[in-house]
């Protein structure tokens, strides 16, 4: 067995020695709590690399783009170890990933920012990453939860609801979202009449609901996971007659909500989730290319494709595998002005870059126009309950 492995390694070594390659780090939670999700989005990354290699590879001499996988295990410590190996041992040009917000913050602060390596995560959504002092080296291809707060605040105000009561579960994700929502809602002229943090997993929330109900707002905004407190709070609010209009975010969107509370109770409820605009040419192009993947629209799979393709474009634009040039090149290829490049259009992009023309990648998940912090604007869908008890998603413009 060992001999076969050695022989295999030798064959691989000679094969890769034949054609020059450019190494791109592919850091992700291959093991750990979201391993199933990561397995799917790794396919998205590989698909993008394949498109690059099939259409002429990188640079004038057609070098191959190789993804070097590192396991960040959705864990800050594992992410630091894996990122260190990619940066120091494999000498990658840039890194796509990691996946979890905690892992991303740790890898960025301890390894990649000091080393001057660009990382582009397709799935870390914590608002804390925006505030990172990153020397313009940390990018994301998934919208920060801060944008979800703004999207929801604008939608609620657009419905004519000016005063809301707000409650959030006491955890990082829901607390971050609630803080961003409150900021956006008040900045846009709305009023938070009451804000109550609650502890998940309690038998009932009648005291919390009574406090919130005393504020006499027009609607209740709930940031929670449906199973641990979201359903219970809405149930208690309905039972006590405190509120009948509810808003929330992706942690609440699950069929169990309708199953437990019934359609009638939720006819005035609406929840935002990140989504993709399925009417764009870029989205259609991606769907055509990705139809062989297990789940082309699985969580953050299109984002994984976009992130990898963008980094490849940035390396091509930089003209060499030079780490220090990637960040500036990434901004140039992702943002206007420039000729629009859709998913899969590697040969076209390569030709334009060779002519010295500007390009602007439009991804399956949106325009991917990075702001000053390296974040992309979000596209969100609004989920409401239809009379037959299903969630219907509508794009928020």
């Amino acid at each position: 067995m060992r001999r076969i492995l050695l022989a295999g390694a030798a064959v691989l070594a000679t094969a890769t020695a034949g054609t020059a390659e450019v190494k791109l780090g592919s850091l992700g939670g291959v093991t750990g709590p979201i391993a199933e999700i990561v397995a799917l989005l790794m396919e998205g990354r590989e698909l993008a690399a394949r498109h690059v290699n099939e259409q002429g590879g990188l640079f004038a001499d057609g070098q191959q783009l190789t993804l070097v996988v590192g396991d960040s295990a959705c864990d800050p410590k594992a992410a630091v170890d894996a990122a260190t190996k990619l940066v120091n041992v494999d000498q990658v040009v840039a890194i796509v990933g990691p996946n979890c917000s905690g892992a991303t913050l740790a890898a960025a602060q301890s390894v990649t920012i000091p080393a001057g390596v660009v990382i582009l995560s397709e799935s870390a959504t914590s608002p804390a990453i925006t505030a990172l002092d990153d020397k313009d080296l940390v990018f994301r291809a998934a919208p920060s939860d801060a944008y979800q707060g703004i999207a929801l605040a604008n939608y609620i105000l657009g419905q004519g609801v000016k005063t809301v009561a707000l409650t959030n579960a006491n955890d990082d994700y829901n607390a971050g979202l609630a803080a961003e929502f409150a900021k956006a809602f008040e900045a846009a002229g709305g009023k938070i009449a009451a804000h109550q943090v609650h502890e998940p997993n309690k038998a009932n929330y009648r005291a919390e609901v009574a406090t919130l109900g005393g504020a006499k707002a027009d609607a209740l905004v709930v940031f929670a996971y449906y199973g641990s407190s979201g359903i219970a709070i809405i149930r208690n609010a309905l039972e006590t007659g405190a509120y009948s209009k509810f808003f929330g975010a992706d942690g609440m969107v699950n069929d169990e909500l309708v199953n437990q509370l019934g359609v009638d109770a939720l006819k005035d409820a609406a929840f935002t989730t990140p989504g993709a605009d399925d009417s764009t040419g870029a989205f259609k192009a991606y769907m055509e290319l990705a139809k062989d993947l297990k789940q082309p629209l699985g969580p953050y799979v299109p984002n994984a494709y976009d992130a990898t393709f963008l980094l490849a474009l940035a390396i091509e634009k930089a003209g060499s595998a030079d780490r220090s040039k990637i960040a500036a090149a990434l901004r140039e290829v992702a943002t206007p002005p420039g000729e629009v490049i859709l998913p899969g259009e590697w040969a076209k992009a390569k030709a334009l870059i060779a002519e010295g023309k500007d390009i602007n990648y439009e991804g399956a998940t949106g325009s991917l126009d990075f702001d000053a912090a390296g974040d992309v604007p979000g596209t969100y869908t609004l989920n409401t309950v239809t009379p037959d008890g299903k969630f219907a998603a509508k794009l928020l413009k």
Binding site: A203, Y205, T211, G227, R235, T240
Partner: protein, 297 residues
């Protein structure tokens, strides 16, 4: 004034009833078998899943489905006692405690394998409260059921313990197992009767909690601390102490969030889980025998 009754006192009483029924089983097993049964919450959860299955299979009302579920769980409990607790009867009690801890994990995992981890409703939909006394008191029908069913079960337990032979034997064993054995009381029979009562009341508590909230695999574990606190508050081995303890803790948890001073809640509701802990620790420090002079731990 009525807001206090409707939003704080009544929910506190409903929660207290559920704690009381759960604490009853804990205090009985503690009094008679002399160990803290950590698996009590999971027995409650298992029985609730059995009741949920009855609701699915036969379309029964949850309160009716609770009856066969109580019987099934009591039978299961006798089997579990035979397998997990009887071998340790004469061993130091810490061994039984650890066995109950292992049993707790095993029951929970088995339920997760069989029924899955998704929370489920036992009574789908939302019950709007109905007005009583010209609209002053708002009370949902399910809360009336819970209060009445708890009263009925308490009355039944009271009759069992004071009027029946086995009930009197249970009290005798709780007071002094050695003396009871010497006077010819069949201790093993008493132990089996204790398990049956503990399992049945636990399932009743679980089904009522599920009617008020939902069925999920962590529900028993989350109830364990307040139930133990209620048993300690009432005095270990004192069934009516457990009932009083459950009601006190349920009401105290809810009332702690009432705006007693000004308009803000006295204690942020996010911290109300701490109330049961605080009461339990305070009782153990100042009055370890509990309100009703139970056994000192």
């Amino acid at each position: 004034m009525w807001e206090f009754v409707n939003f704080y006192l009544i929910p506190g009483l409903v929660l207290g009833c559920i704690y009381a029924l759960g604490a009853l089983g804990i205090t009985l097993t503690f009094g008679i078998l002399r160990f803290a049964n950590f698996a009590h919450g999971e027995v409650m959860m298992l029985g609730t899943y059995l009741a949920l299955t009855m609701v699915w299979l036969f379309g029964l009302h949850p309160l009716l489905a609770a009856l066969p579920a109580m019987a099934l769980t009591a039978l299961l409990m006798l089997g579990l006692d035979r397998a997990f607790f009887r071998p340790f009867r004469s061993a130091p009690t810490i061994i039984s405690v650890i066995a109950s801890f292992g049993l707790m994990l095993m029951i929970r995992s088995a339920v997760q394998v069989i029924w899955g981890t998704q929370p489920r409703p036992i009574l789908p939909g939302v019950q709007r409260p109905q007005a009583w006394l010209d609209g002053a008191i708002l009370l949902a029908p399910k809360h009336v059921w819970i209060l009445l069913a708890t009263l009925a079960i308490m009355a039944a337990i009271h009759l069992l313990l004071t009027r029946t032979r086995i009930g009197k034997a249970m009290r005798a064993v709780a007071d002094s197992p050695e003396l009871a054995r010497l006077t010819g009381i069949p201790v093993e029979t008493v132990i089996r009767a204790t398990w049956v009562v503990a399992a049945a009341t636990a399932v009743a508590a679980g089904v009522m909690l599920a009617i008020d909230t939902q069925v999920e695999t962590m529900m028993g574990f989350k109830m364990l601390l307040p139930m133990f606190a209620a048993a300690i508050l009432g005095g270990i081995g004192r069934p009516f102490g457990a009932v009083a303890g459950g009601l006190v803790i349920g009401v105290a948890e809810e009332l702690s969030a009432y705006p007693w001073l000004g308009t803000a809640p006295l204690l942020n509701p996010a911290y109300k889980s701490g109330i049961a802990f605080a009461i339990m620790v305070a009782m153990l420090v100042w009055r370890p025998s509990g309100l009703f002079r139970g056994r000192v731990l």
